[in-house]
């Protein structure tokens, strides 16, 4: 069954091209991916991300349960602080990657990928039985918006009754209201721009969207779809599960070392990752710029002197750089900036050069 988010009627009203994605009907675009992408880089755009899953951990051993599951260290979070983490299998492969919010001393929230939420939920259930913690799946009851871009704060402040200046990067606040609705607002996102993510119960999120939409008129607020969400995260070098991460890719290969705390007490996958860290990775993620004309896409082979050395994990035309760019997983010795690689695109072998990730950094 394909679900609709609480904002489905709005997507249709605003001319969204609706597709099935991770079990949801969601807009892939409204006015064109490039136009939406540029609006977020230069102004402000709004995304419905209600498909994301939310698991809440509550109870005396909430922290212990969270710590066992994730590779990053939630003990260092203050209340209202947020971290990004991979969640690993015992062999170091990745179950999912997500944000963890510390909502209270003994209260945490995972915001997981829609496509992984059933698998994640099972994994969390299977691995937390020994703890005194109550875990609830709030995915179906919770809506989420992302308001992203250099003008996001100015716009959101028009409708938000707390001072947004006080919400720093990777912090949240559950006390403020939008249009009288309770919500969790955090300075987070998946675009490489400043911006906020807003969580509320399903009916609240519609009221909140309508208030932001109305206030957004003077900002030329752009409704954005999944297409722009992908190109924006791609330019910002943010990994996407199923592309740069997966059961067969560990976080160290994916350049996520700073989100893995090997000093932390035991967590699932720690032994395997310690071993990888000691030996060093054999392959890793790198960015490429196409030198010949062509667009690298997921799965295309990467070659050097006719030998296959890796594969493309993501690739597209970069609207900001106006170049064809890619992210590849290649043998370590070819992952250095300046390395020359060939990408097999259909029957042609096209030249590319390794460049630094992220491709885009906001000023």
């Amino acid at each position: 069954m394909t679900r609709k988010t609480p904002l489905y009627d709005w997507h249709v009203e605003l001319g969204g091209k609706v597709v099935d994605f991770a079990g949801y009907k969601l807009p892939v675009q409204f006015d064109g991916i490039i136009e939406e992408h540029k609006a977020v880089r230069n102004g402000v755009g709004i995304f419905d991300v209600s498909h994301m899953g939310e698991f809440e951990f509550k109870g005396p051993q909430a922290l212990e349960a969270v710590q066992k599951l994730i590779a990053n260290n939630a003990a260092r979070l203050k209340v209202n602080q947020i971290l990004y983490t991979p969640m690993c299998y015992p062999d170091g492969g990745v179950v999912d990657d997500f944000l963890v919010y510390r909502l209270g001393e003994d209260r945490f929230l995972f915001v997981v990928n829609a496509a992984n939420q059933d698998k994640d939920w099972e994994w969390v259930q299977e691995n937390t039985g020994e703890f005194d913690v109550q875990i609830t799946n709030q995915s179906l009851a919770t809506g989420q918006l992302a308001l992203q871009g250099p003008r996001a704060q100015e716009l959101l402040q028009k409708v938000y009754d707390h001072n947004l200046e006080e919400i720093k990067f990777f912090w949240g606040n559950s006390e403020g209201r939008i249009a009288g609705q309770e919500c969790l607002v955090s300075r987070t996102g998946y675009t490489g721009e400043d911006g906020f993510e807003i969580y509320a119960p399903n009916d609240g999120i519609v009221t909140i969207f309508e208030a932001i939409w109305e206030a957004g008129k003077e900002f030329d607020l752009q409704p954005c779809g999944l297409g722009a969400r992908d190109t924006l995260r791609f330019e910002a070098g943010l990994p996407l599960y199923g592309h740069e991460l997966g059961p067969k890719i560990n976080p160290l290969e994916a350049r996520l070392k700073i989100f893995v705390d090997l000093e932390k007490d035991d967590f699932i996958g720690r032994d395997a990752l310690l071993e990888v860290a000691e030996k060093g990775v054999e392959r890793r993620i790198a960015g490429i710029e196409m030198k010949d004309k062509g667009i690298p896409r997921q799965g295309y082979p990467v070659e050097v002197n006719g030998e296959e050395v890796g594969f493309v994990t993501s690739g597209t035309y970069s609207p900001t750089l106006e170049k064809n760019m890619g992210i590849v997983m290649v043998k370590k010795e070819f992952a250095k900036a300046g390395s020359k690689l060939d990408i097999r695109i259909r029957k042609r072998l096209l030249g590319a050069e390794v460049v630094k990730i992220p491709f885009y950094k906001r000023r």
Partner: protein, 124 residues
């Protein structure tokens, strides 16, 4: 929207016969479905194809779609402007956004294509 002098295929391509050559492109409907077109892979001149063969690729930001030969023939012209300005396919799909011109090997195949009215009905 769909000029009467063009012939159309089920793959949302069009053909215009002009000076003994057949110009080929994708329809307005196709470009709208694809979204922002950012790359067109063209065949080489003089390449020969059968009707239905893949002769090139059109890529939007998110998608990669094959281009199919609407008719059998030899490539006698390619629209090189698309290499630097693929967005022309979005802007003027039935005109400046043409992709290749072919010399037909079997003119009778033209009868298998749809006229404008019939094509429009397939979109309803």
């Amino acid at each position: 929207m769909y000029p009467e002098e063009l012939k159309y295929t089920e793959d949302h391509e069009w053909v215009r016969v002009e000076d003994g050559k057949a110009y080929v492109g994708v329809t307005h409907y196709a470009q709208e479905q694809l979204g922002d077109i950012v790359f067109v892979e063209l065949p080489d001149l003089d390449e020969e194809f059968e009707m239905g063969d893949t002769f090139g690729v059109v890529e939007s930001v998110k998608t990669v779609s094959d281009l199919f030969m609407p008719l059998s023939g030899k490539v006698v012209e390619i629209n090189e402007d698309l290499e630097d300005s693929p967005e022309v396919v979005n802007e003027d799909p039935h005109g400046a956004g043409w992709i290749i011109a072919i010399e037909l090997s079997d003119k009778s195949q033209l009868d298998q294509l749809m006229d404008s009215e019939t094509y429009k009905k397939t979109l309803e």
